[in-house]
Symmetry: D2
Subunit: 337 residues, 4 copies
């Protein structure tokens, strides 16, 4: 951390700043430039988290140098984290496909979808039982009944199950049925939920918030990991921008950035980000080519009759074609499917 | 709602679309243009919420005409809503100032601040007991202890109390101590929390999410109101943009837009939006001039020693000066302070 | 175009609106809903471009249905446009690589780079002679001297040349030396420049503005095409968002959207969008996988000594590796390199 | 400027970096932290503008400390700049109103508007003769004919004239007729135009680009000032965000930030930013309250018949009311109108 002092800062004000830093158990290093004076802070800046140094006399601004997260950082953990769900490894050589309907609607729909996606090579079944919806007048999910159907689908197919949890008090219930707890984009900074998911011990799929920077996203992962749970899978699902032709703007370069900054696996959701089935296949291929560890895709046997987000769901035959393409691209980028 | 069909849509596909609409109990009206065919839907489009018409053959796109929210809409409730907290009316002629520290730190700090802001004309005391923080390593608030200190400050000063609630399971506890429940920006689409706050019967201060459109914000209010609780105060607190000199970009035009679209009162938070005490006074004056119903401002007796967000807190003397300015501007825009 | 009238609009105001539409030579179609009255406009809405119907009594809002551009639209020109530069076809089966340094610095640097990129399979040499720079204190390019070096490199290698033009008065000069005129992101809505480039008759590479919607981008292409020049290549180069880890956010879904809305070829610039050589290879592979028609990449024989944008330039060996990967992926997505 | 080196950087790589810095005539100061090594650069970082130090071995990243602009910076020019147009001073105590139609349509319309705005207290008449429009099919302005009408209106009323120039080759022509040259948002980084406007010697009204940071905006001003022309007026006119209810998001906090960072005057355009006459009056009052030096407002005697941007133009009576409000607010914030 660098404290930039104004050129006209008095010697006294510089000494006061140094004292605050040293009192927190950190070292200081003063450097006098032509236009500014710089106080370099040596040590862990978190010790100064609650000292508003910006307000001290003579201080121009604070410039952070190191990232604020530690557990999620590749600097402190160079080897990639591999999240294991049964025999499936997320973050390793395998490119893992999670697929299924947006919402669990009934047994027939889910079982049919599960068979389809399994046949195409998916390893994880997705399906929402608790659905956060923008309007209170939209379908809100089947709740625990949906969880039971998911668990039954797992029994029948051997697929692992990922499903969203929207409230800290539901975490233990969802953890009973699911293999991976999904934290949705709207809840990325619902810190109580992050902590509860961390304590559950279950792998957590953490979607990026629509307006979240990569740094905030890794800080959110830090909340889960700080509870002792290192099984975190990040999921890029589009950020909010001015462009209106797609629902959100899928930030694929975030995948490459995350791979550089963190050891955690990162997958991509091409369905929610684009909001339109037409762009799902090209964005899925692009995600693999960009270095993602997997995908989470909406597939519905009959999108026209879906109760939620039909327009972004792939039909079974389109999904099968896409998986074929992915299977061919994978080895070129050092993956297998 | 308008369904735009492609120029080459078959008569059969048009009829199918019409049937889906009519089966939902709505009327249709077909209009044939030179480049498109348009199926106008007559009636409440919420009846079609779970029909993915976009996917039907021949359909080019769906264009919504009416807003999806009803209870929050001025169209259906032309008179402004006034939220009453004791003798204070929010949304009426009075311009209401809520002020206090970012976080409750201890009795001394809170009581001192409460006296200061009361003397300057504030009617509501703010102060966080549960603090949602980007990093798990930052100060997280005093919890219930903080709530008790807030309630004690109310006893001493007669100020009403607004404080944040971050989890559905905490709603009843916070409601015991607070006069207004604050839902923070990060939780604007934490729908379980919105519903719980709605059921509490307490007035709710609903901050705009950093990446939330005005329409989503009003939909979030709709969640609270749909529980039968119409005492909702909206709070503009800045949106996330590419500009980095301020923490967020305060969207003051949202105040004017909300006044047009909704009957709910709307206040402004100049502290969190700008992130810097320097911009708080000009943005507060601007908010009043733009038609806001009040402000929520961070004031700290000693910002250099604040445990949270010191850099954006006003010192008592700056706050007093600001209130003087506001008192003079208010009557020019039809308000009193 | 749809004109939405308020529920309480008088019959007289509806008739006035209809008259304005009909006087412009367009048809009207009235549809009365439960909450609104809708006046559908039949015919080309451009005839109403200068009538502010929004202001007429009783009008709630205007909802456009068709895109405002025609020449760039796939609706009116379903077959893909192929831009031919010598034997190279952009927009057809070939995946075209344009590569070279950010700025032309001297003969040695450019000739060396040209040989390298040619050997790897590039068909077009890029290099800036006129450099638009954020600060007046940065290197501004060699000007016409740079153009001459580019032309000489073409003589030596047979590569076509693309270079930026920044002012309408320079168009004829640049057109003398270049095979493709590049319009940079900052000039996407420099309409005088677009028209001058259109009149030049040369193929135009039109970069997307940092804050431009896809619709505005196609409208900018329309300016070029409206001068009778249909040889337009679109180039996605990242949009401005709140994310700060990459210089801009590469919007790869825009490639898929453009392919749906327009017949024009679209290529991707992974260098300027990310601003960091580390992300160039993954984003290049992703662009191909997403359906782009080509790439424009910065390559420099010695990035540490580059006078402009060195940090985003690939070294020759990294570029060669990337081209190998692209060559393998291309046939899977129906392309050849 | 700070060069952050990786913890594992070799002594040799640190020395190499220092050498590059010293060879550029700058000083270095090394500081060794627990996780990083920091090389502080002492002196003007512009001397390193074309050295991609980010690429050198062992370098983690570069952190700029000082702003890149100098002439526009308050640090180097603490006193506010006052731009004088005849008797009118922009940037001083006076709050200056510029008003008029979006486009000059004909003599009658302009003369009528000029009389109205003068009567209400405006000092400058605005009106576009060259109109940059998103679509080539929209009204493009009267060109030089429009300039002549503007000059005639000045003769009749004594108002100064501000009008947009869109191409470097038009600068001398526009400068013949206008008192202030306007550079529009789309051209904020049209550097050839900025330089030509700088050389004209006329005061320049520089609108902020829709996706421009405050820093880029001040750098654009630096282009004009670097030609020896210090008469620059900045104009905030909204930035592009995800919000769609207003055309752009007016960033009023930018006014306060500019006042802190720069000595240049800054005015606000409430018409283009909001795109709707309804929000013009509240945003105008807010701009004054926030500390702006003036406004540029669209007024049209008959907005329903305007050829350009009618929906955002105020009718004369609304404009008169607004000026009354402004006149009352001004003294409270230390201004006069």
């Amino acid at each position: 951390m660098i404290i930039v002092m104004r050129k006209d800062a008095t010697e006294e004000s510089i000494q006061k700043v140094c004292k605050v830093v040293e009192d927190a158990g950190l070292g200081v290093h003063i450097s006098r430039g032509t236009d500014v004076i710089i106080v370099g802070v040596i040590g862990d800046r978190r010790k100064l988290a609650d000292k508003p140094i910006e307000l001290m006399e003579g201080v121009e601004k604070i410039v952070p140098i190191m990232e604020p997260y530690k557990l999620a950082s590749r600097t402190f953990h160079p080897e990639p984290t591999i999240v294991k769900i049964g025999d499936t490894e997320i973050g390793g050589e395998e490119f893992v496909i999670m697929a299924g309907p947006c919402a669990v609607e009934n047994k027939e729909q889910l079982f049919e979808t599960a068979e389809i996606v399994k046949k195409c090579g998916a390893k994880v079944l997705r399906g929402g039982a608790f659905k956060p919806r923008t309007s209170p007048y939209s379908f809100q999910g089947l709740g625990e009944e949906g969880l039971k159907i998911l668990a039954e689908a797992r029994e029948r197919t051997g697929l692992a199950v990922v499903t969203e949890v929207v409230s800290p008090e539901d975490v233990s219930k969802v953890a009973q049925y699911a293999d991976i707890l999904q934290i949705g984009a709207r809840n990325m900074q619902n810190f109580e939920l992050l902590k509860a998911a961390g304590r559950s011990g279950k792998p957590v799929l953490l979607k990026r918030g629509m307006a979240s920077t990569i740094e905030e996203w890794l800080n959110a992962a830090e909340y889960v990991m700080n509870e002792g749970n290192f099984q975190v899978i990040l999921c890029e699902r589009g950020i909010r921008t001015f462009e209106q032709k797609t629902r959100n703007t899928l930030d694929l370069s975030a995948v490459a950035v995350i791979k550089h900054l963190s050891h955690l696996p990162v997958i991509v959701d091409p369905s929610h980000s684009t909001g339109n089935w037409r762009w799902v296949a090209p964005m899925s291929r692009a995600a693999l080519a960009a270095g993602a560890d997997g995908l989470i895709i909406e597939v519905h046997p009959d999108p026209e009759r879906a109760l939620s987000d039909g327009p972004q769901s792939l039909k079974p035959e389109k999904f099968a074609e896409l998986c074929e393409d992915l299977r061919k691209i994978a080895p070129i980028v050092g993956r297998r499917l």
